[in-house]
C-alpha cells in the first residue's frame, strides 16, 4: 500500500433519486495520496456522488471499492471498519452546535479509542492546533466565523487519523483568502499525514491549486465526460465542454 496504488475504485456506478437518474456508468480510480477533485456544474450530482462514495446512499448499479474491498458487498461490520478510516467534512461544517469545539473533536476519540479524558484533551488540543485553532477549545461553533467552523470540522474529521478525507465544497461561503488558506491546509494534511483527499468543488482556482486527479460530471449527458489530471485535461481533454470548463480558470490564473 504505497502512494500511487489504487485506493478507491468506482466501478459502473449509476445513481438515482427515485426514477430520476442523476449520473450513470461512472468509472474511475483514485490513487493513494491523490487530491482527487469531483468537478462539474451546479446540480450535476457532485454531492450525490460523494454521498455514494461514503455510503450514505445506495447505488442503483455498480459499486465502490476501497483497497479492492467493495463497500456495497461488505456487511455491517465491514462497512463500519471501512468508515473508521474516513474523515468527512460537511458542506456547512456539520459541527454539533450544542457542544464546544473540544467536545466536538473529542467525540470520535471517546467513541473509538481507549484513551482517558486527559489523553483525549491532549489529542484534541493537538488537532485544533493543526488546523490553526489552538486556544479555541471552549468556544461553541456559533461563536466562531464560518472559515473557522470549516477548519474545526476538519479537526473533527482528522481526529482518528483517517486514510481518506472527503470534503464537500470546503471553500463555499469563504472569502478568497480563507479559501486559499484552507486549500493550503488540505495540501499540508495530505503531505504530512499521507492521506488521500476526495474533494467536491467548482472553484476553478482550487482545482488547479490542489488537484492532481479529477473526474468531470456532465449534467446534460448524465455521465462523466473525462477524468485525469485537471492541468492535462485543460489542454488535452477529448471533450470541448471539459476544456471550456477548465479554461475559464486558465485565464483567471494568468
Amino acid at each position: 500500500m504505497r502512494a500511487g496504488d489504487p485506493h478507491i475504485e468506482v466501478r459502473g456506478l449509476t445513481m438515482r433519486y427515485g426514477a430520476r437518474v442523476i449520473q450513470r456508468d461512472l468509472d474511475f480510480t483514485v490513487n493513494r495520496g491523490d487530491v482527487f477533485v469531483i468537478m462539474g456544474g451546479s446540480g450535476c450530482g457532485k454531492s450525490t456522488l460523494l454521498k455514494h462514495m461514503i455510503g450514505l446512499l445506495e447505488p442503483a448499479a455498480g459499486e465502490v471499492l476501497y483497497d479492492g474491498v467493495s463497500f456495497q458487498r461488505a456487511g455491517a461490520a465491514g462497512r463500519d471498519a471501512l468508515r473508521r478510516r474516513w474523515g468527512i467534512t460537511y458542506q456547512s461544517g456539520g459541527l454539533f452546535s450544542a457542544m464546544t469545539l473540544a467536545e466536538n473533536v473529542a467525540l470520535p476519540l471517546q467513541q473509538y479509542t481507549p484513551l482517558d479524558a486527559a489523553a483525549i484533551a491532549d489529542v484534541v488540543a493537538y488537532k485544533l492546533a493543526l488546523v490553526g485553532l489552538a486556544g479555541f477549545e471552549d468556544y461553541y461553533p456559533s461563536e466562531i466565523s464560518g472559515g473557522m467552523q470549516k477548519r474545526a470540522g476538519l479537526a473533527r474529521a482528522i481526529a482518528l487519523d483517517p486514510e481518506i478525507l472527503f470534503f464537500d465544497e470546503p471553500s463555499a461561503g469563504l472569502d478568497p483568502l480563507s479559501s486559499r488558506l484552507l486549500d493550503e491546509l488540505i495540501l499540508h494534511m495530505r503531505d504530512a499525514l499521507g492521506v488521500t483527499v476526495v474533494i467536491v468543488t467548482h472553484e476553478l482556482a482550487s482545482i488547479f491549486a490542489i488537484g492532481n486527479n479529477s473526474v468531470y460530471l456532465d449534467a446534460e449527458s448524465r455521465t462523466m465526460l473525462d477524468h485525469g489530471d485537471p492541468k492535462t485535461l485543460r489542454e488535452r481533454s477529448r471533450h470541448e465542454t471539459v476544456r471550456r470548463f477548465l479554461a475559464r480558470a486558465g485565464t483567471e490564473d494568468a
Partner: protein, 379 residues
C-alpha cells in the same frame, strides 16, 4: 507505517547522553491502544533539569497522532521552560506535523464564559433574564399591535396565501386530535358527575354538567392545550429554523417587517380557528357525555332537551371569548420563542420547548382570570 503483526505497547525512557537529555521512544504509538501519560513524561523531563531535549526513535514502531500529541505538548512545555527541543531524531512525518501544529500561534483571548445554571441563579442572572424576557415579550406584543394597525389600514406586508395556508394547517389538520380528546373529555365529565348525581336519582342533570362544563370551560381549555402542543410548537420550530438559516434577516433586509410578514398570518389564522374548534369540541364533548348517559337510562331526546335548556348563548359566548384569548396567547408564545431563537440547532429545540411551556402556563393563568371576571360579572 507498515502493517505490523501484533502492536507492541508504547513506552519511553529518559537517558542522559552528554550535554543533552534524550527521550527514547519504543513500541507502537497508536491512538487505538494508548500510551504513557503525557503529564508523566513532561514531569520527568522537567525533573531531569535538561537544557536540550533530543529523541531516539530507533526502536519506534508504528505511530500516529498519539505520538505527535505528546511531542506537541512537549514542544509547548519546552518553549515555556526555555529548553531547546531538537527534533532531528524524529521521523520526518512527525517533524512536519509538529511544525504544522505550531505554525499558527495560540490565540490569547479568553473564551466566552459559560457558567453553569446554579452560578447564574446565584448571580441573579436568571432572574434578570426572566425580567428582560418579560419586557421583551411586551415589546413583541407592541410590535404585533402596530402591525395590526398597518393591516387595518391595508398597508401591511401580510400575504393572504400565507394566512390561508396556516388556516389549513391549524384548522382542518387538527380536527382528528380535537375530536378524539373532546369525546373523551365529555365522557370523563359525564362519569365524574354521574357517580354523584345517581345517588339522588338526578342522572338527567349529567346533560347540564357536561354541556355547561364543555362549553364554558373544557372545550376552550383542551383545544388550547392541544393547539399549544401542536401549533405553538410548530410556529416556534418554523421561525426558529428560519432564524438559524438567516431567512428572517433576509426578510428584514428586504425592507419587510417580519412581524407583519411572518407573525400576523399565523396569529390571525389561529385566532380565527380557535373559536371554531372550541365550538366543535363543545358539541363533541356533549356527544361523549350522551354516550355515557345512554348507559344510565337517559334517552337521546331527554338528553338533548336537557342540554338545550341548560346551555345558553351566554355560556357559549363566555367560552368563545376564552378561545379567542387562548388563540392569541398560543400564537404569541410560539412566534415570540421562534423570532427570538438563537442561531444553532440546539436553540431551535429550546425555543420549541419554551413556546409550549409558556403557552400552557399563560393559558391556565388567562383561564383563571376569565373565571374570576365572569364570577364578578355574574355570568
Amino acid at each position: 507505517m507498515s502493517v505490523a503483526a501484533a502492536p507492541r505497547a508504547a513506552s519511553c525512557t529518559l537517558e542522559r547522553r552528554g550535554e543533552r537529555v534524550v527521550l527514547v521512544l519504543a513500541g507502537d504509538w497508536l491512538l487505538a491502544q494508548g500510551g504513557p501519560s503525557a503529564a508523566g513524561v513532561l514531569h520527568r523531563v522537567t525533573a531531569s533539569g535538561a537544557r536540550e531535549l533530543g529523541f531516539d526513535c530507533a526502536a519506534l514502531g508504528d505511530w500516529d497522532s498519539l505520538l505527535v500529541t505528546l511531542l506537541h505538548r512537549l514542544d509547548a512545555a519546552c518553549e515555556q521552560a526555555g529548553v531547546t527541543l531538537l527534533g532531528d531524531g524524529l521521523p520526518e512525518g512527525a517533524q512536519r506535523l509538529l511544525a504544522l501544529a505550531g505554525a499558527v500561534p495560540r490565540r490569547g483571548e479568553a473564551p466566552p464564559a459559560h457558567p453553569p445554571w446554579w452560578r447564574r441563579l446565584l448571580d441573579g442572572q436568571i432572574l434578570a433574564g426572566a425580567w428582560r424576557e418579560l419586557l421583551d415579550a411586551l415589546g413583541f406584543i407592541g410590535e404585533i399591535v402596530l402591525a395590526c394597525g398597518h393591516l387595518l389600514r391595508g398597508r401591511a406586508n401580510t400575504r393572504a396565501v400565507d394566512f390561508f395556508w396556516f388556516l389549513q394547517q391549524t384548522g382542518p389538520a387538527a380536527i382528528g386530535i380535537v375530536t378524539l380528546i373532546s369525546v373523551l373529555v365529555g365522557m370523563i365529565l359525564a362519569y365524574l358527575g354521574s357517580v354523584q348525581l345517581r345517588q339522588f336519582g338526578a342522572q338527567i342533570y349529567v346533560a347540564d354538567l357536561v354541556g355547561i362544563g364543555m362549553v364554558r370551560e373544557m372545550g376552550a381549555l383542551m383545544t388550547g392545550v392541544i393547539m399549544a402542543g401542536r401549533t405553538g410548537a410548530a410556529f416556534a420550530a418554523q421561525l426558529g429554523t428560519m432564524q438559524t438559516r438567516e431567512e428572517i434577516d433576509a426578510v428584514r433586509t428586504l425592507g419587510i417587517d417580519p412581524t407583519e410578514f411572518l407573525v400576523l398570518p399565523r396569529l390571525l389564522a389561529l385566532v380565527l380557528v380557535m373559536p371554531l374548534l372550541t365550538l366543535y369540541s363543545g358539541v363533541l364533548g356533549m356527544c361523549g357525555g350522551a354516550l355515557v348517559a345512554l348507559g344510565m337510562d337517559v334517552s337521546w331526546t331527554q338528553y338533548l332537551n336537557e342540554t338545550r335548556n341548560a346551555v345558553t348563548l351566554t355560556h357559549i359566548m363566555t367560552g368563545e371569548a376564552k378561545a379567542v384569548a387562548f388563540g392569541v396567547v398560543i400564537a404569541v408564545a410560539g412566534c415570540h420563542a421562534g423570532m427570538r431563537c438563537g442561531r444553532s440547532s440546539e436553540a431551535v429545540g429550546k425555543a420549541t420547548t419554551r413556546a409550549v411551556v409558556s403557552a400552557i402556563v399563560w393559558l391556565i393563568v388567562a383561564d383563571a382570570a376569565f373565571n374570576i371576571l365572569y364570577q364578578r360579572l355574574g355570568i
